[in-house]
């Protein structure tokens, strides 16, 4: 579905990603793990078009999307839930969701999707009139996921959805991702929460210093000592 073909991304002179290739298959959850600064967020931003590639290509269902502007990529259904949520803090929950459905396609279905989002996250319906900035971390993450869902994603990319959340909330978020996957939504999760991420994923990649150092079945990776080493340096 999404094929990343040997991309290199640079910040000025410095390479943040070197020669990274990833395949995301339809209907699966792919996990991307790796320690801080290993280039996970850069990879997502490269897919979303926020970051220009130095070399390599990204294909979406066979079509090249690298080089398109972010809004064009979003229009194809490649939607990112950014790290740190990046909600519109002085807009209400409802407005945040509305902006999620800004594109003409999703806009037509906005009412229906919103209903679905509220079903998934009943808490949001209670807080629909509240400013996003005043919500708790967990609720904010729900809004962020909800906003992404409003764009009717074909591929949902979550960047550190567990960041700064209590374990129970993290669990809830991951459960919903799995649930959505059950309904056929392809996902790419980037997380430091290694165990939980791997346990819901099908496929996994381990990123270290901007390079893929491991790829494989998520369950196999769970057991691999190399993962622990990559994180703790032991």
């Amino acid at each position: 579905m999404l094929r990343i073909d040997a991309i290199t991304v640079k910040y000025q002179e410095l390479a943040a990603l070197t020669d990274v290739s990833i395949d995301i298959e339809e209907g699966k959850i792919t996990a991307l793990i790796g320690s801080n600064g290993s280039g996970k967020t850069t990879l997502l931003n490269a897919i979303s078009g926020l970051k220009q590639l130095f070399s390599g290509r990204i294909y979406w269902n066979g079509e090249i999307i690298s080089g398109c502007s972010p809004d064009k990529i979003a229009a194809r259904g490649v939607i990112q839930v950014p790290e740190g949520r990046k909600l519109f803090p002085r807009m209400t929950v409802q407005e945040n969701l509305q902006i999620g459905a800004f594109l003409p396609g999703p806009r037509r279905e906005a009412e229906k999707t919103q209903k679905r989002v509220f079903e998934l996250f009943p808490r949001l319906e209670e807080r629909r009139g509240q400013c996003a900035g005043s919500l708790s971390g967990g609720e904010q993450q729900m809004v962020a996921v909800g906003r992404a869902l409003m764009s009717m994603p074909k591929l949902l990319m979550l960047d550190e959805p567990s960041l700064g959340l209590a374990p129970i909330v993290t669990y809830e978020i991951f459960k919903i991702v799995k649930e959505l996957n059950g309904q056929g939504l392809t996902s790419l999760i980037v997380s430091q929460e290694v165990l939980q991420t791997l346990s819901i994923s099908d496929e996994a990649y381990l990123l270290e210093h901007g390079k893929i150092v491991m790829r494989g079945n998520a369950q196999d990776m769970l057991a691999d000592p190399k993962v622990k080493e990559s994180y703790l340096g032991i």
Binding site: S48, R90, M91, F102
Partner: protein
Amino acid sequence: MNLTLTLQSLISGIMMGAVYALLGIGFSLTWGVMRVINVSHATFGLLSAFVSYSLFKTFGIDPIASLVLTLPAMFGLGCIIYWLLINPITRAKAVIVSSMILTFGIAIILENLILLMWGADPRLLTTSYTNKVYVIGPLYFQYPRLLGFVMALVGVSAVQFFLKRTLTGKAVRAAWQQPEASQLCGINLKKISMITFGVAIACSGAGGVGMAMLYSFEPHSHNLWLIYLFLVVIVGGVGNILGAAAGGMIIGIITGLSMAFMPYQWVNLLTFGLLMVILVIRPQGLFQSEV
């Protein structure tokens, strides 16, 4: 203190302030949203004032009615200016400073175009209702001022409505609060910035007509108007529409009252001094900066 004098100055202050606010909201918008300090904002207002003046003099179209023509034209002009000139510098390191100098260049060009087309003499927009007055008890309401006040109310509410109720307006706010995330939602930043700039220039157009109904204007008037813009925006908080409205009122009231109770020649000094004090004490404005 004299009650009638106080009330009368208060009224005229509020009405003046409302028009400053109308002129100021667009300025606030571009500064807040795009980090572009549009020094030529007042000059665009002046341009629209001259256009309405000519429409009135040659075709007899009432300045208020001619807004139907001028506002879309100003909007379009704003979009073009953004596309051609502002967009190239938005990626520069010091956008704010570059934008000030760039738009200063635009202001020079516009001012001299106005000079070429209309000449240098001061103009007064004298319509059939310019000298009309409403009298309520001991208080007088001058018709053009009332009209300016109403225009400002409508203008500020319209912009507020645009930002808070329409999807495009919400997208503007979103792009402002989280440029990156808004792109991820499919918002084209360039297009949104262009619309914002267009709306801002259209506002300045309305504001310019409002100013023209209150004051005389000439090709150099925009310099003084610009000072009022800074006042309004800095008092009201950058990017805050209602703040700008309140800022305009506050400045109008202060000017009005000080004109009544202070030697007239110190009034401007007080206004500028006040701005300095506010800047030193609360550079973020008296009100929260808000979208």
